[in-house]
Amino acid sequence: MNKQEHTPPKWIDDILEWYCSSKYIEEVQGDLHEWFDRRVKNEGLKKARLYYLLDVIRFVRSYRLKSYDEFTQNSNNAAMLKNYLKTSWRALSKNKAFTLINILGLTIGMVAFISISLYVQNEYSYDQFHTQKDNIYRLKQNRYNKGELTTEWAAGCTGVGPALANNFPEIKEFVRMTKSQALVSYEDKVFKEDFTYYTNSAFFKVFSIPILKGDTSVLSKPYHMMISESAAKKYFGDEDPVGKTIRHNGVRDYNIGGVYQDIPERSHMKADMLYSFETFVDLSGEESRTTWDWDGFYTYLLLEEGVNVSSFEAKFPDFIQQQIGEDLAQYNSNIEFKLQPLTDIHLTSDYMMEFKPNGNGEATRFLFIVSLFIIFIAWVNYVNLSTAKSIERAREVGVRKVMGSQKSQLIKQFLVESALVNFIAISIAVLVVFITLPSFSQLSGRELNISFYDPALLLMICGLFLMGSLLSGAYPAFVLSGFAPVSILSGKLSTSTKGSLLRKGLVTFQFIASLVLVVGTYVVYSQLDYMSSQDLGVDIEQTLVVRGPGATDSLYSDNLNTFKAQLINQSDVKSISASTAVPGSQPGWNAGGIRLLTETEAEANQYRVIGMDANFINSFDIEVIEGRSFEEIHSNEEYNVIFNESAVNLMGFSSSEEALNKEIYFWGDTFNIVGVAKNYHQESLKKSFEPLIFRYIPNSRNFYSAKVQSSDLPFTIEKIEKEYKSAFPGNPFEFFFLDDHFAQQYKAEMQFGKIFGVFASLAILIACLGLFGLTSYMTVLRTKEIGVRKVLGATLLNVMTLLSKDFAKLMVLAIVMAVPVAWFVMNNWLSEFAYHIDLAWWVFAVPSLILILILLITVSIQTVKAGLSNPVDALKHD
C-alpha cells in the first residue's frame, strides 16, 4: 500500500489516545482514519480535519473511556506526573524558608486580588437585575445661566418627561419620581421616612420590581400608594397592609393599594414607599405636571428596542427651543438634557439630588489596577526567587539530562513545581478571603458576599491559578531546562547576564509599584489631614443638631420659642438657633432670578439661600466683616439679607462695603443688604465657596442647632429630647453631631485612604518578602567571598555595603522612575479638591525614605548575619 498523503492532525489523535481505552483504540482510530481519507477525497483536507476533530469529540462515550486504573497505572504521563509531584515536593521541602516566602508572597497577592475583584464585581453589578436595563435611561439635566453651567441635576424639571413622551415615538414609557420627606404614622407607630417618592404607575412597567400583593393601578389614583415589603413589616407587622391607610405628615390619609418587594441594595435607587403622582398634583397644583421651571423630578425613559441613543439625544436641543425657547432667552438661561444609561448611574453619576451617594468609577478602576500591580509583584517574587535559585538547581538539571531527560520533561517538571506552589497559595488565599471578608466589607463600605457557586468567581480562581502557574513558572522552567549538561557538570556555569538583568528589572518594577502606592497613601492622608485641620471659618465643634419636626400645627412658632427658651435655660446649652441648613451639606434652597433692583432680569443669578434666626451667625461664630448680623429688635428684619463674600462678587460689587444697603429683587419682593459675612466652608474643602444669601426666618423648621458644653452628654441629650417631645408632640427626636456630619463628606476619601493604605502595605510586604529571599540567597552564594574578604580585614560595614550596593542602585533607579508616575496620578486625584495640598518635594521624599529604610532593614537582616559570621565556617569546607 502506498504511503498516505494526508494524516489527521496529531494533536487530535493525542486527545483520542488520551481518553480512549486501549480495548477500543485500534478499531476506533482505524475506522476514523479511513473515514478521514474518504473525507479528504470527497470534501477536501480542511473540512476533513474539522470533521475529524468533531468525530473524536463525538466518540467520548462512557464505555470507551479509560478506566481509573488504566489512567493511573498504565499511562506513562500519569506515572511521570506522580514523579514530578514527588520531586517537586522534595525540592520545596528541602528549602523550607524559601518555599514559605514564595507561598506567603503569592498568597498575600492573591488575597488582595480576589478581595478587590469581589469589590469591583459588586460595584459593576448595580441595577443589573432590571430585565429591560438596556433600554432604560435617566434624564440628567444641565442648567445654564448666562452661558455658564450652574447646576447638574440627577433630578430635573417635572415637565420634560411628559413633553418628550408625547412627541417622540422612541419612548415607550416614562417614569417620574419626586421625593417626599415624610413623617408617616399608623396607629401609634410614627417614623420619619427619608426615602418615599411620588411616582406614576409606569414605575413597575419599567423597573423589574416584583409586586407581592395588590395592584399597581393605584398609582394613578390620588392619595393611594404602594409600600415596600420591609416598610409594610415595620408598620403592620404580620397584618395585611392592603386596604389600610397611613397618615402622611400628620395631615392626609393615604390608601395602601399594594406591596412590592424591596428594591435590591445593589441599585442606585432607594424607595421604601411610593405615592401616586396624582397625589402630588392634587397637593401642589396642575402646573406641577408640566412646568419646566421646577426641578427635583427624576425622569426615566424606557426606549423602544433598537433606538439609536445618540441620535435620539441630538434631537433634544431643537425640541427644547421649540417648547420653551422664548422663556429661556428672556432669562438668558439654557437647559440641556443627557441620557444616562441605567446601569451606568451607580459608577458615573454624582449630581444634584442623587438617591444616595453613588460609587466612584474612577476609584474602582484605580483600585483594580492596584490589585493587578500587587498580583504582579507577587508573581515577580516567584520568578526572581526561582531564577536566583537556578544555580543550585542546575546540578539537578544536569544530572537529569545526562540520565536522558528531555527538555520538555524538564519544563513539565518545573511547571508542576510552580503549579504546586500556586495551588497551595490559592487554597490558603481563598480561605483567607473567606475569613477576612466581613472586615473587608466594612473597610469598603459594601456588603460583599462570596458564593462558591458563582461561575465568575470560580473562573477567576481557576484563572488565577493557571495564570500564576504559567506566568511564574514559565521563565524558570525554560531557563533551567535550557542549561547545557556538560557545562553544568563541569562547573563552568555562571549566572547569565540576561537572567540577572531580568531579575534586576523585575526588582526595580517591584520598587516602583510599591513606591507609587506609598506615595499615593501618603498624599491621600496628607490631604485628609489638611482638610480636617483647615480653619473652616465656622465653628462646628460641640454642636448638637436636632432635626425639626415634620408634623406641626398653627402654633408652631410659639412652640419653637418655648422650646428655645427652655433649652437656653439649661446650664449646659450655650446657645440654640433654628435654620434651614447647617454646615456640612449643600443648602437645599437654590434660588434663581436674584438681582439688584436696578438690573434687568437677564442679569439675574442663582444663589444658595439659608434661612436663619438671629442666633445663627453668632452661635456658629461666622465673622461679619461689614454691616451687622441679624437682630430681633428690628421690625422689618424679614426683608433684610446678609451676603457672603462670594455672593458679593457674583452680584458684581467691587467691595463688601459697596454692597451694604443695596436693594435686591428676590422672588417678587425687595430685600435690603444689611451685612456681609466672611466666606466660610459651608461644605467640604472639595468645593470652593458658593455664593450664599442669609435670610432672616426666625421660625425656620429644618434644623435646631444647640451649642452644648456638658460633662454628661447623654444626660444633656436626654433633657433636650424631653423638651423637644413636649414642644412638638408626635414627632420623633432625631439628632446628630455637626462635626460628625461634616466629616461624613470625607467618608469616601477616608475609605479610599484606608483601602489604599491596606493594599500599599500588602504590596510592600510582598516586595520585602521577595527582597529578603533574594538577599538571603545572594548571601549564601557569596559566603566564600565574604569569608575571604573578612580574613583579609573587611569590617561588618564593608560586607553590608558590598551586599546592599546592588539593591541600593536599583532603589535609586526606581525612585527616579516612580516619582513622575506618582506625581501624575496624585496630581490628578488632588485636582478634584478646590482646596488641596501642594505636591512638594517632601511628599515624595518622605515615603521614599520610609520605603528605603524598610527595604534596607530587610536586606540588613541577612547582610548583618553574613557580616558577623565567622570566616572559618565559610572557608573550612574547601
Binding site: E27, V28, Q29, D31, H33, W35, D55, R58, Y63
Partner: protein, 104 residues
C-alpha cells in the same frame, strides 16, 4: 415478536451487516449507507448502533487480523446472527403484508 423493537436506522445498519456477509466493519457500513441511502452518517453513530445491536444479540463481532491497511490497526468485524436474520425477515414480512393492504 414481542419485545423486539428495531429503530429505522438500526434496521438499516443491520441490513447492511447482513449484506456484507461477515466482513462488515464501521467504515464499510458507513460507506455503504452513504452511497446507497444518500444520507450522511458519522462513524461514532455507526459504532454505537453496532454495539447496541450486539447487546440485543442481532450481530456478533470479532477482531480481524492486522493488515497493511490503516497503519496496521485491527478492525472489529461484524456478522449477523440467526436472531438478527429473523428480526429482519419479520420486519420485511410485516411490511409486505401492510403493502398488500394498500389500495391500488
Amino acid at each position: 415478536m414481542k419485545g423486539t423493537y428495531l429503530g429505522e436506522f438500526e434496521e438499516l445498519v443491520l441490513l447492511v451487516v447482513g449484506a456484507h456477509s461477515g466482513d462488515a466493519y464501521g467504515v464499510s457500513i458507513a460507506t455503504t449507507i452513504e452511497d446507497e441511502a444518500r444520507r450522511s452518517v458519522t462513524i461514532s453513530t455507526i459504532h454505537s448502533v453496532l454495539y447496541r445491536l450486539e447487546k440485543k444479540g442481532y450481530v456478533e463481532s470479532y477482531m480481524g487480523g492486522a493488515t497493511n491497511e490503516r497503519g496496521g490497526r485491527k478492525k472489529r468485524l461484524f456478522k449477523i446472527t440467526a436472531e438478527g436474520q429473523t428480526v429482519l425477515a419479520f420486519s420485511k414480512d410485516l411490511r409486505n403484508r401492510l403493502w398488500n393492504l394498500m389500495p391500488e
